[in-house]
Symmetry: C2
Subunit: 266 residues, 2 copies
């Protein structure tokens, strides 16, 4: 059952368009917002609201981003059910304590309290300054144009976020999702499952760069994050501390460098 | 201590602007992303990432949206501390069980599972079809222009969401926040504290209309939600069920009506 087609991600609806010329009924297309429940060893972990595709990647990306699984070998079975909106993960790990999960999830997903402990974790766990990847402004501009050219669902519905994993030359993986974090988690999940290296990649996102998305990307070992939009002061402070290059407001022929600009070779 | 000034919401930073003319260092302004921890009767409830202003309104709006408090009389003391990023709420309610809280919070904040029970709750708790508020397209267009004219922080940083509570004629309360839900919660909190009626108001938002924001607004008894952007199919389905009017893509002289268009009088 292929649920990755455009059709499965949208829903037609008759709407009323109001213009200064008057009212007209017309057929519109809405982006689907679809609840997906993730189970680990039979235990319900979380329900995410997502676009109904790449749900196995989303489950794995979410679980790895949240620190449940550190190694693909810890996954013994993975089965997505599009008809029920469920993903079942079988893992060698003993069942996950809800409390631990909640704490972690709240941390990165809802901003509960321990954000700054996480920063420490991230700083301890890897030093992104050792990542010497470089990219030129012209490469960044081209990759951003390429990503925007791929945003089929956005052009159709205006209702999704885009993320693109790129090497210096091209977009390697592109995802769109109604969820702010899901597009990135779907990319991370695919890379985690397939052992795709991230240290030689950069991540482009259509959304603002908040502390949450920055930490998620930093934990994956990606040293360059690029957005059409703005970073927050907290994201920039974390980027400076973690050795991460933040590029924002990539529009037309311009961009802003907010931290570790040395990776963007003039 | 006044933390509501523009200055407290932004942070200056020296950045590098790259253009086809070359590189230049310049002074930029970033939007602040600031952790605020809410305590009820001394118990830590949640930390939200927010813009540092109107924090008492945010705490009350969050607690009422999450169903902790149903009545302003349940709040015996309310004290915000901008220096520490904390709000202390003293309540007549016995202390809140973390588990219950988590469940509710995950529901509306992180999309865990029980979204649809919530829908039922909302449908049972109030029938918005009884709300006969009407507004004309020209009023909607003018209110949207008014809201956009107020978005000082957005024009400065490009990094925030806007929300405006309006009567048919004017914007009554306007808030901007880095958090997708915070701008709305700050409005709701002020109305809850001051007993401002919501049934004769509409809510305008700069963001997409997801099921989460729609349920939040519906639970407050607001029957009309308006956005410059797109609703999801789930939000529209809920709007149809709950008797709510959804107006999207309000741009230039146009808008789309997705549910209960009868409230938009031609």
């Amino acid at each position: 059952m292929d649920n990755s087609s455009i059709d499965s991600r949208v829903k037609p609806l008759a709407i009323i368009r109001v213009t200064d010329a008057g009212w007209e009924e017309r057929d519109d297309v809405l982006v689907k917002e679809w609840p997906l429940t993730i189970y680990v060893n039979g235990q319900e972990i979380v329900t995410l609201l997502t676009s109904p595709e790449h749900i196995e990647d989303l489950a794995v990306g979410f679980l790895s981003a949240e620190g449940f699984i550190q190694d693909p070998g810890q996954i013994t079975d993975l089965r997505g059910d599009y008809s029920k909106g469920q993903v079942f993960v079988e893992s060698t790990l003993s069942s996950i304590a809800e409390k631990t999960f909640m704490k972690r999830y709240i941390t990165t997903g809802c901003g509960k309290g321990t954000t700054f402990y996480d920063v420490t974790d991230a700083r301890m766990s890897r030093n992104l300054e050792e990542n010497k990847l470089k990219v030129s402004p012209s490469q960044i501009l081209r990759l951003m144009r390429d990503m925007q050219g791929m945003s089929q669902l956005y052009q159709q519905t205006g209702g999704v976020h885009s993320a693109a994993l790129c090497d210096g030359e091209k977009v390697v993986i592109y995802r769109e999702d109604i969820g702010r974090h899901n597009a990135t988690d779907k990319i991370m999940g695919k890379c985690f499952r397939e052992g795709i290296s991230l240290k030689d990649k950069l991540l482009l996102t259509s959304g603002r760069i908040s502390s949450e998305i920055l930490l998620k990307v930093a934990k994956m070992g990606i040293a360059i994050i690029v957005s059409r939009s703005a970073p927050t002061d907290l994201a920039v402070r974390l980027g400076q501390e973690l050795g991460m290059t933040i590029v924002g407001f990539v529009r037309g022929q311009r961009m802003n460098l907010y931290s570790h600009p040395w990776r963007v070779a003039g």
